[in-house]
């Protein structure tokens, strides 16, 4: 990944055109609704304005190169963990929060350096071992401070925060080091968001039966199945992202995004319901918190990476 590679890469150019066209089209539709049909949709405008910030940041990082991508995605992981820590109250414990921050920085470093054994970009073996060291460090905190009160909860939340938010999301850092960084990353991010949009749209139009009434009362089976159908079609529609994928990989990609994306969404909803919160934060106006935005990516990134690694090898050498 580098700026000149990115600018000449047909995959990057195609996605840039597609995303720009989608944003313009959405802007036109929203303007027509607001100014011609006189149906004000302020909340959708807020979400749209949010996208106008998110898209250039993510795209800019990808175009700048691997280091910028690792830095930006690691900061997103950090922000996501911080939201979970604030929402659960773990953040008041600066020691445990600090240890997880350091683990996230270590994860970024491990993703950035060259594997000392294979010479590949990113030390993948160490990344997969990182949870061991992170959990060991987290468990040491109450021992060093000679404390027991409330420590089971604090330590559990720190481990959940690192593994679930930072480490699972961190698999994106290694997609950035793979032999198809643009295709994998752009496909995954776009497909996951489309899956979200499809679930919302199908749910609005056909929604009758609640999917998980206790967890997320607005989601319906109709929306969910519609999203799955869209997600199963996407690998064929965007097949240029991974020309080496056969039908088997495409089907698996569709299932990972179509089912995994929705499970990721519901997983954050379980946590939010239990905490009694509507959003995990207010970092992204119109989107809620960072975690509300990346919930599906957290769940799908590791599944997608390991599927790719199983069939093709992350670096194309398997």
């Amino acid at each position: 990944m580098s700026t000149s590679l990115a600018l000449h890469d047909p995959v990057v150019r195609t996605y840039a055109l597609m995303i720009a066209a989608a944003l313009v089209l959405a802007g036109v539709v929203l303007s027509l609704l607001t100014f011609v049909a006189k149906k004000p949709v302020p909340s959708i405008w807020a979400t749209y304005r949010g996208w106008l910030v998110i898209v250039p940041v993510i795209f800019g990082a990808l175009v700048l190169g691997r280091t910028a991508t690792i830095v930006v995605f690691s900061l997103v992981a950090l922000a996501g963990f911080k939201e979970l820590a604030c929402a659960t109250g773990l953040y008041r414990d600066w020691w445990l929060t600090g240890v997880v921050y350091i683990a996230i920085a270590a994860q970024a470093f491990v993703a950035w350096i060259i594997d000392p054994y294979t010479g590949q970009l990113g030390w993948f073996g160490m990344f997969r071992t990182l949870p061991v060291y992170a959990i060991a460090a987290i468990l040491m905190v109450p021992i060093l401070r000679n404390r027991t009160q409330g420590q089971l909860q604090a330590v559990s939340l720190a481990i959940l925060g690192f593994l679930y938010v930072a480490w699972m999301f961190g698999h994106l850092l290694f997609l950035a080091s793979s032999d198809h960084p643009y295709g994998y990353l752009l496909y995954l991010i776009v497909a996951v968001e489309l899956n979200d949009v499809a679930a919302f749209t199908f749910g609005k139009i056909f929604g009758r039966h609640k999917l998980r009434s206790e967890i997320s009362p607005n989601k319906t089976w109709e929306g969910s199945l519609g999203a799955l159908a869209v997600s199963m079609a996407m690998p064929w529609l965007l097949a240029f992202s991974f020309p080496h994928f056969g039908a088997r990989e495409k089907i698996l990609t569709g299932l990972i995004v179509g089912i995994g994306g929705q499970l990721g969404d519901l997983s954050i909803s379980v946590i939010k319901r239990d905490l009694g919160l509507k959003d995990m934060g207010a970092a992204l106006p119109g989107h809620g918190g960072v975690l509300d935005r990346i919930d599906s990516l957290i769940y799908t990134a590791p599944l997608f990476l390991h599927m790719v690694h199983w069939f093709h090898g992350l670096y194309g050498v398997r």
Partner: protein, 242 residues
């Protein structure tokens, strides 16, 4: 499942930055403590080198327990000078009461007031009672410092105005120490109508702590306390001039 698990989300979850900066009490954010400590170090350097800040009576500052600092008010220097008297470790538990209608109106001002100064947003209009309750709440915590300017606003001519009774409503009938201070040179360096300060000398005189356990709570007691503190600050001014 362990029945003892209890989640206590931070009070600013789901609030925008501008809203959470206006919130009080403030949640302990690492980045905020870091920025505040760094700013305090820079400010202390500036006060010592450029403004040649002189301090007398440092031994009058209680080393432990909560207390109130009270001083004359003619400049933005006042709160910054008093903050710089405290040990760095106490910085995050020291709260200058600042007018909400001036210091917390927009995002840049709120950011400076909340992050760098750690100000307590004091509502001068309408909800003064709630703000005084907030002041009392701050002092209930161990080791907290409340910084009050009982004149209520920066003096227009540098002279000491009347003290409003609010400070008395907070401390009358309690044994919380109130430390009177007099700041001189601040008006000449940075009066109301100047945007940036002049690099002229500042000095602070710290008086002996006063306590008001036997003054009755309520309006009358509060006036007694306010008058007594005003006299104490005037005495320090004389001492400072002598």
């Amino acid at each position: 499942m362990d029945a003892d698990w209890r989640y206590e989300p931070l009070s600013d979850v789901g609030k925008s930055l501008a809203e959470s900066l206006r919130d009080f009490p403030r949640e302990p954010h690492m980045w905020m403590y870091g920025a505040r400590s760094a700013a305090a170090l820079a400010l202390r350097g500036w006060l010592r080198v450029v403004q040649r800040l002189g301090v007398t009576g440092r031994e009058n500052l209680p080393a432990e327990g909560s207390f109130v600092l009270v001083a004359n008010h003619s400049s933005h220097w006042d709160a910054l000078c008093l903050l710089s008297l405290l040990p760095l470790g106490r910085l995050h538990r020291a709260f200058p009461a600042a007018a909400a209608d001036y210091f917390f109106t927009d995002l840049p001002r709120s950011a400076v007031s909340a992050i760098l100064v750690n100000a307590l947003p004091f509502d001068r209009r309408g909800r003064g009672r709630e703000s005084l309750a907030l002041c009392r709440h701050v002092l209930e915590m161990p080791g907290h410092v409340l910084i009050l300017f009982p004149e209520g606003t920066r003096s227009a001519d540098g002279a000491l105005a009347d003290f409003k009774p609010g400070v008395g409503l907070v401390v009358a009938g309690t044994s919380i120490p109130v430390v009177p201070c007099h700041i001189s040179g601040a008006y000449r360096s940075w009066p109301r109508d100047r945007v940036l300060p002049r690099p002229t000398r500042l000095s602070v005189v710290i008086g002996a702590a006063r306590r008001y356990p036997h003054v009755p709570e309520g309006k009358d007691g509060a006036l007694v306390v306010a008058a007594d503190l005003r006299q104490a600050v005037l005495d320090l001014e004389e001492k400072s001039n002598a």
